[in-house]
Amino acid sequence: MSSPFPYIHISCPCNEERPQLMAVDSARPISPTKSPTKRDPSVGLPDPQTPVQRRGLQPAVSFGTAGSSNGDDDENLEDEDGENNFDPRDPRAAFSLFPIENLLYCEDCHQIRCPRCVQDEIVCWYCPSCLFEVPSSTVKSDGNRCTRNCYLCPICTALLVVMPVTHSPAGTASDTPIGPFNLFCSHCHWTTSDLQPPIQLEKPTSISAQLAKLSASPQDAEFARLKQHYAQQLGNAQEDFANSPAALTRLMGLYAGLGTGGAGRKGRGVKKLEMKEIDRPREVAEEREMDAVERLAKAGLDATTNTKQRISQPHEPRFLTELKPVAVLLRTKRSKRCRACRHILVKPESKVQTTRFRIRLVALNYIPSVGIKRLDPSITLTSLIPHKTHRFLLTVTNPLFDPISVSLLTPRFTPGTEYPSRVTILCPEFEVGANTDVWDDALMSTKPAIPAMTTGATSAGTPRGGDARLETVYEQKRNYTSVVIEVVPPEIPDSRETRIRDDRLLEIPIFVRVEFEAEVDRDDDDASGALSKPSLSLNTSAGTAGGAASSASSAAGNPLARERVEYSYWCVVGIGRVGDPVEGVVASEPNTPVRTPVGTPVKAPRTPGVAKTPLRSVRS
């Protein structure tokens, strides 16, 4: 990943080898009647590597805010599978990691959609220079370039303007400029009069038509020759290509013949169309080549085109004087569909001039986003000090209009490398307020829920010495909450292998699980499951967080039923790079064992190296 540190990439569920439609269930409300969904094992599974588990907490406390005993049983059944950790170094993972700004959200699937799992549909073609919409039929017939007056300079790619060739003095300037005209680049002062032979136009309008008349390069002549040759052959066999059932059988016969290795060609009355190659595919004029050599000797290398210019022009000009103005490439406006449910996720206004969107379901508005920053400004992200405890602030921001409760899980040691870093989230469970109006907070007095929440988190976390603030929620504002994450990178030797595998890159996978109460979706056909939910969530959430419990109880009394919704995803936090060891910094805490002790199966050291990491097995 080349982005500057720190970066946060979210894993789209499409990287897993599960059918997309199965994953749809993951965001559905948890219901005791339903069988556990595909996502559930990774959601509720008490990973042996999670810090919460290491601290000896009960899984029910760490994960089970809404999970029932039923869910716990299922978790135990699947517990033996330790492969649930997301490995950011997995080759497969690289395809699904995107910054949250690049992600969309399908409201029907309740799922993140990355650029890989949406389908683009072109709404319209337009020229970015004149903002003229080009109909698709014209694009098909005339190519994907502006067919009006927009041309780019072949030297510096700026837009060309039309100028009269002969400059008329200011006194005699009339309203209508007199020709001939040329195209002029106001940036690098290139003009079409610089060419050999110079291109000069009679009219200042309809430039494409005039240029089309002028352009007659040897390449064009060659193309015309080839086209004529093949059109002739096609004309001879025209009756075969007529839109008739016979033509269809003939075509099918061709394909069948391909399939059986040519055996299908015999018999069956299928006549294969025989095309003759043109005799001389390319004509090289000897004189012209000699001319080019002479010109090169005279003008030197400065007069030749560079590779980019040569490739971008169809006639492959060798000299700067042979360059032609380039018509502006068209651009498209696209709508995007979810590949799983075919619903539209993005739909721009079809008018070219407006930049608005009719539909735009970006993930930022639907899923809580994670941010990270240094708690200690002296940390340099590009060279983290081995064995030193680096503290970062992990901020979860809530875009929803309901308060959410968040659980963050992370492997105790970063997976996928032989030199794992120790990662601890000091307060892995907390609440994030609703994304209410900014003024609500200012007008109301302080929320009583915050201190209650903080004490709850304290009791949940293991009591440790030091600043109590670090142990609990570090900061809680209107719709975001920050907690502290501690990272202890190991000492990594500077060898060839570590460089190849980029072991010094420190990426932390974090599993974000979010629960909130939302109004019951009226379209939800699974009404019974939805209705039975509030009571359940009321029972389980009462013990954990005061704020959530109160909201749940108020919801239970409300005739408008509310349901418990959960959502979860893996994200990868690229914190930085581990630097060289610094004298005097020794392991301050008993955290140095790079190899984990026996009895705690950590996946990472068993499968060292990114290249050797096996693809995750398909779980049925």
Partner: protein, 187 residues
């Protein structure tokens, strides 16, 4: 020996620092808050426009600006040495340039944010595209166009006369728009 530099934006007449010897044509349009500093003489030719807040520093040598030039806002003209800085006629200097050159030829336009290194010499009818830089002591031949990162080409479009005319029209327009505060600098 060097006089203290004036604070940017301070009107020269109200400032305590003495102005350098100025020889300014009466047809020159001097805007408000131009900073003249230094001790060497500053000469400005006829019909030239100086935008507000441009800075002319003649600490190291004299500055000569030709006729029919435009020097835009926040641009610094700094004489590199005792030979001074000479701007030819019809020179357009855009906003936020730093010009430490020895000579800028006639009809050259220096576009937004260009940086001209110490004692470089720019030929006639050159174009320095926005944000381009010229290294110290560089000599640019006539009709050079500097564009892109370090690209150069010779301008053979033969539009120099037309550009000079456009510049004259530009000056005429500015003369109507900008208030002339030339009396502030008469001392």
């Amino acid at each position: 020996m060097a006089p203290p530099r004036q604070r940017p934006g301070a009107a020269s007449s109200s400032s305590s620092a003495p102005l350098p010897p100025l020889s300014i044509d009466p047809s020159v349009l001097l805007s408000d808050a131009i900073s003249f500093s230094g001790t060497f003489p500053i000469t400005i030719g006829a019909n030239t426009i100086l935008h507000p807040r441009c800075k002319l520093n003649s600490t190291e040598g004299p500055i000569i600006v030709g006729s029919n030039c435009i020097v835009s806002e926040k641009t610094q003209l700094i004489a590199p040495d005792a030979d001074g800085l000479v701007l030819g006629d019809y020179v357009l200097v855009e906003v936020n340039c730093t010009i430490h050159a020895a000579r800028i030829g006639e009809g050259t336009s220096v576009e937004v944010g260009a940086k001209l290194g110490k004692a470089c010499r720019i030929g006639n009818n050159c174009t320095l595209s926005p944000l381009s830089t010229v290294p110290d002591g560089e000599v640019l031949p006539d009709y050079t166009v500097l564009y892109g990162e370090t690209h150069r080409r010779l301008d053979i479009s033969n539009t120099a006369a037309a550009r000079n005319e456009t510049l004259l029209a530009h000056i005429d327009c500015l003369k109507k728009l900008l208030p002339n505060k030339a009396e502030k600098y008469n001392r």
